[in-house]
């Protein structure tokens, strides 16, 4: 049993959050209720995390188990996401207390935050297609209000309009997916649906479900700003910083979460994973490169989120759902912290650590770095897995970790040849590898049968994935080592194109006629 049956107490925090958004309260009341609700959520979330697989059995009113299962589903996946949102929500609401002090619409901000967090919570524990869909659109509604916090800003309005279009497309595709599922299986109960899907095997998935899988993938890509529907994301920094923190750490996750929720279906569908791999890796590469070229902190973080969301979907497409969840959760905390502390860059510049290191122009460090990284990597992989014959997908994922270690070691050897830093950075790379395996194992065991197990892909797909991996390697190499080329202006031109996000947002703006103005004479 991986499912915790629901009692009233688990819904209470969400209800309280909705209460915190009531207009008739004062700012302080709004704030205190929201904070109380979030502490309670944390309690619930951690309780659920700890009790995963155990059923509660008490008869008191609050703890009595009602059969709310048709609406709520509090399984391992839910409890991880739910606790994460509670923690990030708490930090973001606390942050907003002082950060927006003195703003005329401070109260509205707190209440909009509460609504949005409540919908994300609801999304994470929905056990029913209807509540899932309501929560899905609800998060978008909350976000819309938050983006328009400074509604007098032209660019904020533009961002909201662009987001509105993309979100509605996503809603439609999710709605259609749910309609197809209902038509095929005749129920809206999520647990029943997931159980029923298990009986199919790949070849015999009915057409309606195949279609539903595709539509779910599309909805997820639209929600999680995949290329080319990312245009509104870098514009959302037109709203106060906590909005960005909540959006990047909470709302974007809805896409990968949806995939994980329906992983049973996605896993059986024949095209879904190919689409996820393709769109995900394109977005990952696009976001990663564009983000590395941005001259502004928040814009760089925004593009980086596109990349990370792409990477998460890419892993889902590979079929390692536990690793996908790990990346999702890790990224949330990382990005929330990065946004909330985005003002501290100047402190770092003052202490002289802000500038990144230059690229290497000598090749005599490549071999020792390759040797050391390889040795460490193989040793620890063997230690954790007991074998070097990993599944194909795990191999791909580990290879990406290996690439990171390699680039770290390359720069260490080239720029910090003193004993101290070589030791320090070697030790850190060891930690990176070990943490990866540790958390990967933890998540895999924790999720258990909530997500399908890894299956070996077809050979054609394998080659495709290896191609993508080579592309990743080329990018890592290009940013670590200075390539001597005659065609410099070609490279610098592409720098301009990538810095501008390959102009996809510009086309979107043009489509929206963003420069239109009625000026006075």
């Amino acid at each position: 049993m991986t499912e915790l049956k629901i009692s009233l107490v688990t819904i209470l925090p969400t209800l309280l959050l909705f209460l915190a958004s009531v207009r008739y309260l004062t700012l302080n009341q709004n704030y205190r209720i929201a904070i109380a609700a979030l502490y309670l959520s944390l309690l619930t979330g951690f309780g659920a995390l700890a009790l995963n697989g155990i059923e509660l059995n008490t008869d008191s009113f609050l703890f009595k188990i009602y059969d709310l299962q048709p609406f709520y589903q509090f399984d391992a996946l839910s409890s991880i996401i739910y606790s994460m949102i509670a923690l990030i929500g708490l930090v973001v609401v606390r942050y907003s207390r002082h950060y927006l002090d003195g703003e005329k619409r401070h109260k509205r901000f707190i209440s909009d935050l509460s609504i949005t967090i409540a919908f994300v919570q609801m999304l994470s524990v929905s056990g029913n297609l209807i509540t899932l869909f309501i929560a899905w659109t609800g998060t978008s509604y909350g976000l819309h209000r938050l983006i328009l916090f400074y509604s007098d800003r032209k660019k904020a309005r533009l961002a909201a309009r662009k987001k509105f279009i993309v979100a509605r497309l996503g809603d439609v595709s999710l709605l259609l997916a749910f309609v197809f599922i209902y038509l095929q299986l005749g129920t809206s109960n999520l647990q029943v649906i997931l159980d029923q899907i298990k009986i199919y095997s790949i070849s015999e998935l009915p057409f309606k479900l195949e279609l539903a899988g595709l539509l779910i993938v599309i909805a997820a890509c639209l929600k999680s700003v995949q290329v080319p529907f990312h245009g509104w994301l870098p514009d959302v920094i037109e709203a106060p910083t906590p909005v960005s923190a909540l959006l990047h750490a909470g709302l974007l996750n809805a896409g990968p979460f949806l995939i994980l929720r329906f992983s049973g279906l996605i896993d059986l569908s024949s095209y879904s994973s190919v689409i996820l791999i393709t769109v995900g890796s394109i977005s990952a590469v696009f976001g990663a490169i564009s983000s590395s070229l941005q001259p502004s902190v928040k814009s760089s973080l925004a593009y980086s989120s596109i990349g990370h969301m792409g990477f998460t979907l890419f892993i889902s497409g590979l079929g390692i759902y536990s690793a996908s969840l790990l990346h999702l959760v890790s990224h949330s905390f990382y990005k929330a912290h990065a946004f909330l502390s985005s003002g501290s860059l100047i402190e770092k510049i003052r202490s002289g650590v802000a500038a990144p290191i230059e690229r290497i122009n000598k090749s005599n460090h490549i071999l020792p770095a390759l040797f050391l990284s390889g040795l460490m990597f193989l040793t620890f992989t063997f230690t954790w897995q007991g074998t070097l014959y990993l599944s194909f997908q795990m191999l791909v994922l580990s290879a990406i970790i290996f690439l990171g270690i390699l680039s770290l070691n390359l720069k260490t050897f080239a720029y910090s040849p003193d004993k101290r830093s070589v030791l320090h950075l070697t030790f850190t790379s060891a930690i990176v590898i070990n943490c990866f395996y540790l958390f990967e194992h933890l998540f895999e065991h924790y999720l258990g049968t909530v997500v399908p197990a890894i299956k070996d892909p077809q050979n054609g797909l394998k080659i495709y994935i290896i191609g993508i991996l080579l592309l990743f390697a080329a990018i890592v190499f290009a940013q670590s080592v200075l390539i001597k080329t005659k065609n410099r202006s070609f490279i610098s031109q592409w720098e301009v194109h990538f810095r501008n996000g390959l102009y996809m947002n510009q086309w979107f703006n043009r489509f929206m006629n963003s420069l239109y103005t009625k000026r006075l004479n």
Partner: protein, 813 residues
């Protein structure tokens, strides 16, 4: 390189000279944003800025009308403000009220082809220009944000822009057909392009200047930053011409709309029509401005009246006893409140106001760093080199260099393309404790009783071997003379610099000491301590007739203006003989800090947590990453008083006055007064006008809303996702959410010295006289009884104020 014809070069220089410099966030120093206009009257400059750049130099009429209603501005102030103009009071007020009811609208000025094109095409090309130029400039100057360092950096701004703009497709996607080729076809040299383009426009001298200035005001932020680069460049290394190159960048857009745009004929015709009779002007704007300018002057006069009354009521403080300690504080307005409270808790301490770098303008090199910091006012170049050292400098240096490298390599890994995936998956969860630690900062209560300043960071050991004895002595002499303590030194002399602590605050350095170039005053104070306590220096000083008693000890301290804690910077340097006395002083500091926090608490919005301890609430601001107003900085500054302390002692000036100690009787040829006017007064005028400008125009000369700030290229901030680099102070630094915390009052300089002496200096120093003659700031004279007796009008003329004020006093009583 092309040689410009000298007439055009002069016009170009004039236009470029109108743009005031601005500094990057790592050392944000206050600067007068109207610096290029001090040769023009305030009113005229206001008109020019409104016409050319839509920049507001006064508040909206409503602000003044409210002050009229509440009685802050009286009818007399208003009548006085009319000056020699014959205006009917009634009809003026009616006009003002009508204006107040009108909705404020931004008018398009139609100076540039880009603006005209925006109108004819109904597409905001100005916005596109700002976005594109700003985005390119940010990338060009970026050394800290992007992880992929650009491989082919061109130093010449114009060439770098040409490269970028001929690759960037945004302009064409947004509808500017043929933009890239129009850029590609421009000459390679910016001067060649400037000359040929301007000769095509065929404008007269004044118009050329006006036109170029108006184009620069399209992007006031980046223009000011580049002007700052040129300013610093000229002070230290060599002449640079960044701003000139930038003019060429902006004119490349004008060139497009003149020659390549679809509607070029139409645009051209309108532009030539606009400039036919000289610089285009908008009468309506000027008429409205005239009203608010009169009201602004009345507001200034009203506040001068209030200040005068304050001094009139105050009794000069006479104390005969020799102080047990002398504490030198920075002239900063925040010192005023602290000094008053310190004198209250311990009357035996004499406090003295002096520029916070204590006269030691140093260039500081931290251990293991190649970056040198200029710890001195930005007006003067740093003189001597001081470097950090330690017990084992070599190994320490190695350690720091390698630490720095490690963190830089780590950053490349963490935020690099693809490698960031290998970072986030394994280590993202380590941000859970981090985010909790930042959200729930600890250690405030613990520090409260012991150490109120959070300055537990390492105490640097300084290496002064870069300064020879003669330099040390010369600096010591001028400092002691300037502080006015050369003949009466007590056993302890506390050199109290100041700094501020805040977290996650891009504008943090703006809260630090301006006299130390936007850094904490810690290192200057420490340098001073080293030099004054040096027996060799004391020996040499004796030969010059300055006798520092053997028992006198100089102690460097640091006042943390966020927490109001004062720390002795390096306790290990205190000999046993003075420890006991110092303990008593430290106790006084602690008590004064309590009082000062209590005083400040009324200005900080603390009501939301009525049950909590106010001290903890204030001090926790220093550690709160979400705190948007850690302290008020210099907000509210309105006067600079150059006088003996006895005239201001005990007078509650509410942390709004700069105080410089000065006794004219011991300043024989007024050399000291001249140097005070030339340097500290200049700095205070910069600070005051910086706050003024950030208040009256929170968008163009203020940096807008802090909640939207997005640090760009490590230099400055932009608001939201794009737009110009933002200069000046954030809205939250001058506004408390309900009303402006800083009121637009032009600085009142009050000098206790004979009028003839002040006039002598003014007639010698034209640049200073212009400030007063053109009403950028005001000048008053204090008499021997501590009253403001005269006010400077113009052309070295003074008005006797005493009679008038006496009358108002009587009506008040």
């Amino acid at each position: 390189m092309q040689i410009l014809n000298s007439k055009f070069q002069k016009n170009l220089d004039n236009a470029v000279g109108r743009i005031a410099p601005s500094w990057p966030l790592k050392n944000l120093v206050a600067v007068n944003p109207y610096m290029g206009f001090t040769d023009t009257s305030f009113n005229k400059a206001s008109e020019i800025l409104a016409q050319r750049g839509n920049i507001r130099t006064t508040m909206p009429v409503g602000f003044y009308l409210e002050n009229l209603k509440s009685g802050v501005i009286t009818k007399e102030d208003l009548l006085k403000s009319f000056d020699k103009q014959t205006i009917n009071l009634e009809s003026f007020l009616k006009k003002a009220e009508l204006l107040g009811q009108k909705k404020f609208e931004l008018r398009n000025n139609q100076h540039s082809l880009t603006e005209i094109a925006s109108d004819t095409d109904k597409q905001d090309w100005c916005e596109l220009l700002t976005d594109r130029v700003s985005f390119w400039a940010a990338a060009h100057f970026d050394k800290s944000v992007s992880v992929w360092n650009k491989m082919h950096l061109v130093n010449d701004l114009y060439r770098s822009w040409k490269k970028e703009a001929s690759a960037d497709r945004t302009t064409e996607i947004m509808g500017l057909k043929g933009f890239r080729s129009s850029i590609k076809d421009l000459p390679e040299d910016h001067l060649e392009f400037l000359e040929s383009f301007m000769s095509e426009l065929n404008l007269g001298s004044d118009e050329t200047e006006a036109y170029i200035h108006s184009v620069l005001l399209k992007i006031p932020g980046w223009s000011s930053y580049l002007s700052g680069l040129d300013f610093t460049g000229n002070l230290y290394e060599s002449k640079t011409t960044h701003l000139q190159e930038f003019v060429a960048v902006l004119l490349s857009w004008e060139n497009y709309f003149l020659k390549h745009s679809v509607n070029k004929e139409n645009i051209k015709a309108i532009w030539y029509r606009n400039w036919y009779y000289g610089e285009p002007e908008n009468r309506e704007t000027i008429d409205e401005l005239k009203i608010t300018l009169i009201l602004q002057r009345a507001f200034d006069l009203a506040n001068q009246r209030i200040l005068k009354t304050k001094f009139l009521k105050h009794k000069t403080h006479h104390s005969k006893s020799k102080p047990s300690a002398q504490a030198i504080f920075c002239i900063d307005v925040r010192s005023e409140a602290f000094r008053r409270n310190l004198e209250m808790v311990n009357p035996e301490i004499e406090t003295i106001g002096f520029a916070g770098f204590f006269g030691f303008s140093i260039k500081y090199t931290p251990l293991g760093s190649e970056n040198q910091l200029n710890l001195c006012p930005v007006l003067i170049p740093s003189k001597v080199a001081v470097s950090e050292t330690s017990d084992q400098p070599e190994s320490e240096e190695k350690k720091r260099v390698s630490q720095k490298r490690i963190s830089r390599i780590w950053k490349s890994f963490r935020s690099g393309a693809i490698t960031s995936f290998a970072f986030v998956s394994p280590l993202g969860l380590t941000f859970v404790p981090k985010i909790l630690k930042d959200s729930f900062p600890t250690g405030i209560k613990r520090n409260f009783n012991k150490d109120t300043s959070f300055h537990a960071e390492s105490k640097p050991i300084l290496d002064l071997s870069g300064i020879n004895l003669d330099e040390k002595v010369a600096m010591a002499v001028s400092a002691l003379v300037g502080m006015g303590i050369k003949d009466n030194m007590s056993r302890l002399i506390l050199l109290t610099g100041h700094g501020s602590t805040s977290k996650n605050n891009p504008h943090a350095s703006g809260l630090d000491c301006g006299a130390c170039g936007g850094h904490s005053g810690k290192l200057n104070a420490l340098t001073a301590q080293y030099i004054f306590n040096d027996p060799l220096v004391r020996c040499e000083l004796r030969e010059k007739g300055i006798f520092i008693p053997d028992e006198t000890l100089f102690v460097a301290c640091l006042h943390n203006t966020t927490t109001d804690g004062v720390d002795v910077i390096d306790e290990s340097l205190i000999p046993e003989s003075h420890k006991e006395e110092l303990e008593a002083i430290k106790k006084s500091f602690l008590e004064a800090g309590n009082l000062n926090r209590l005083e400040r608490s009324s200005r900080l919005n603390l009501q939301y947590n009525p049950d909590s301890n106010k001290d903890i609430l204030i001090m926790s601001r220093a550690k709160d990453w979400s705190q948007i107003r850690p302290e008020w900085g210099l907000a509210g500054c309105h006067s600079f008083i150059i006088a003996q302390r006895k005239h201001t002692k005990g007078l509650k000036l509410n942390g709004r006055s700069f105080l410089h100690s000065y006794h004219w009787k011991s300043d024989q040829d007024y050399k000291l007064l001249e140097s005070i006017i030339m340097a500290p007064m200049m700095v205070t005028s910069w600070i005051n006008l910086q706050y003024y400008a950030s208040t009256t125009d929170t968008q163009k000369f203020g940096s807008g809303n802090k909640t939207l700030h997005n640090i760009t290229s490590g230099i400055g901030v932009i608001e939201g996702s794009g737009g110009d680099l933002r200069i000046g102070l954030p809205l939250q630094s001058v506004h408390n959410g309900k009303s402006f915390e800083h009121l637009p009052i032009r600085l009142n300089v009050v000098i206790e010295a004979p009028i003839s002496a002040i006039n002598d200096i003014l007639s010698k120093q034209d640049s200073i006289r212009q400030l007063f003659d053109n009403e950028w700031i005001f000048l008053h004279r204090m008499d021997e009884e501590g009253r403001i007796s005269h006010t400077y009008t113009k052309n070295l003329q003074w008005e006797n104020e005493l009679k008038e004020t006496m009358i108002t006093m009587e009506t008040v009583l």
